[in-house]
Subunit: 409 residues, 2 copies
């Protein structure tokens, strides 16, 4: 094998369910020089990241920090730190990522109960309330926005239910954080875990997470400082957390003023995560979300303007993604292939029961903007026409323009 | 809180045990634009990474890839995928990272046996052989080079021992890979896990790993494809791996031509990991190691030229790090502080029994170069003199120059 040359990725407009194009400012931040693990600049940057993400999560939770893994690892860090074998967990399953929460909780040895609703629907409060009464779980684990189905789950009343049964409330906000309203404290959420690669406009590989004092206490009751660095008086739990890497009690110590050595913080990813949050807050969280809302609406209107159906409960649609019903007789993968190869535009396929039936088109992060929406709609129209699907000329772009006109009126 | 500005890290020469300065080419590679998770460019880049790291690990192991975590997560991924509760593990403990292997194996529920040697020594073959006969473990887990003590453990005979007892041989090469000879196949190593932040000259956050066919078979016997994406005929294990994120059987599928969805690959870290390996191989693995050897020698000679003692068994010293005995009456942390604040140079402190007694000075990656070595020695001399420690003027730099003169003679 000859040695491959330096990287030279093709130009892509990533309008799928994520990862999406990273904001150029995030990539620039990630090219900044490294400093040492305990350099005052580094520990200051860690503290800044905590404060920045408190504002993104709208929380005062002290333990708001990064897990050095993709968003999936953030979920596992939360679950494995909280759950002991045999602990009960309740998961409303509305799509692929509900299944993932079940899967991860089961790997932790938890006794997992589910309520299931058809993909594309939200779980009704009554369904969850009944199951909560029956199961009385240690953890209620809810996907806030499931990109596999494009719907966002209402959290009304969930915190009250959790208080009634002493349950911790967990939210997977990977796909929603930043671009959809999510109020950690106001909604009484104990634990939320996210990722950079959706609305926050960064690369996958770092998971912003937040833990309430209640969650922290549960986790710290299982604390066991590892032998190599244990000091006198340090905790040795009788039933320690079953992971070292994802042991949040030790990660909390690392991010505390004690700075107890754990992993070596992924500096470049931290730089990126810091810039992601900074960009959101510079625009302002509400304006950032409003922007996602208007471009998401424009995309949905454009899809309909092309004569295509929209999948799922649009009353509860996430701002940043739309499910598009693939018309009969159209080869969904052929369309995606032409969009990518000929136009450099990526849209998403689907998982499980929606595979081959639904495309998913995202409008998030720095791609939640007019030119990205209009270009995608025009390209989709071109490809569909060449695939032999009759559709109104310019109907997609026209409808999107109409939404923009209304938004600025 | 007002919003902090864009990142502007101070200029640092990172001459500690790692992380060290990232090679500027790696940081540039990490600012490349993202592509989609299954973009042909991305899957091609994943395949390139596999091939590049086979050459860095000197192996033909098919399963040579990245774990999306720091090097610590790479260790855990290997252990949790191989070890079932009650499995026996043998760990020679020569320093902090031996303790870490014990800790991680215990979290997996393994029955962990150790042989311990004083920090700064290697474990004699006979000691390991006796313990192997007694324990007959499923896994022999060895730190190749423990930065906490600066020594590199010989692997002679370990593979034969492992074959005798059907044991898998694991090596933690986080601190050695690239800059010290490590021959995965020739030494019969089944599993090795590394990191970017030492000799490879990248940031922490991605763990290159390699698994033999034997290790792969052990892991795949525990395979259980998660419910959300399970197809007919897919495995459901009776005793699944206790982690989803670190389930290497699923990670193998993701990196295979099947491309079964698991986590979302950390694209930017992968770009960085690819460039790290490319830089090593462009220089040539042997020349890369020879460079580490000469600059490591120059640093050690310089340290002695300053009248300072060198810690540990120097016959088995890693190429890329030297332990320096802090002289009596010198405040080690004050010296480190002045080096960092006044000269912008970082050297390392130590853990456990060596804390306050030994500094650790690294010469690795792009910092294994003459100007970095001479500058560090000159600065250390200045700081020590101002701390009141009498030492031969210019003796450190002179001795380093002498090594360079010999090396080019």
């Amino acid at each position: 094998m000859t040695l491959p040359g330096p990287l030279n990725p093709p130009s892509r407009l990533l309008m799928g369910p994520g990862p999406i194009n990273a904001d150029p400012r995030v990539l620039r931040a990630m090219s900044a020089a490294l400093v040492g693990q305990y350099d005052p600049f580094m520990t200051h940057a860690m503290n800044e990241v905590m404060e920045l993400y408190r504002r993104v999560f709208v929380t005062s939770h002290r333990q708001t920090l990064l897990v050095d893994s993709t968003s999936r690892g953030g979920i596992e860090a939360a679950f494995v730190s909280v759950l002991e074998p045999g602990d009960k967990v309740l998961v409303p399953v509305m799509g692929r990522f509900g299944h993932l929460l079940v899967e991860i909780a089961q790997r932790c040895g938890a006794e997992v109960h589910t309520v299931e609703v058809p993909w594309g629907q939200v779980a009704p409060y009554e369904l969850i309330a009944d199951a909560m009464e029956k199961v009385q779980p240690k953890l209620l684990a809810v996907v806030h926005g499931d990109t596999s189905t494009t719907v966002v789950q209402p959290f009304d009343g969930l915190s009250d239910l959790c208080q009634r049964y002493g349950t911790l409330l967990y939210a997977d906000v990977t796909a929603t954080i930043g671009g959809n309203e999510f109020l950690t404290d106001a909604w009484g959420v104990d634990i939320a875990t996210g990722g950079l690669q959706k609305c926050l406009g960064g690369p996958s590989g770092s998971a912003p997470v937040t833990f309430s004092a209640h969650a922290e206490a549960v986790i710290n009751s299982r604390k066991s400082i590892e032998a190599g660095i244990r000091a006198e008086g340090d905790a040795v739990a009788s039933h320690p957390i079953r992971s070292n890497y994802f042991d949040m009690s030790m990660v909390f110590e690392y991010w505390s003023e004690r700075r107890l050595n754990h992993h070596t913080e992924a500096t470049t990813m931290l730089y990126g995560a810091r810039e992601c949050a900074r960009i959101v807050l510079e625009e302002g969280l509400e304006r950032f979300q409003a922007r996602h809302l208007v471009h998401g609406r424009a995309m949905m209107a454009g899809v309909r303007g092309l004569g295509l159906g929209v999948f799922g409960d649009v009353e509860h649609k996430m701002t940043n993604i739309v499910g598009v019903v693939i018309p009969d007789g159209v080869d969904g993968e052929a369309v995606r292939g032409h969009l990518l190869q000929d136009f450099g535009i990526e849209i998403g396929t689907s998982f499980g029961p929606l595979h081959g039936k639904v495309w998913r088109i995202g409008t998030m992060g720095c791609n939640a903007r007019q030119d990205a929406v209009l270009t995608t709609l025009a390209a989709l129209e071109s490809v569909l026409r060449r695939e032999g699907f009759g559709l109104p000329a310019g109907g997609g772009v026209d409808e999107a323009y109409r939404v923009y006109a209304e938004a600025t009126a």
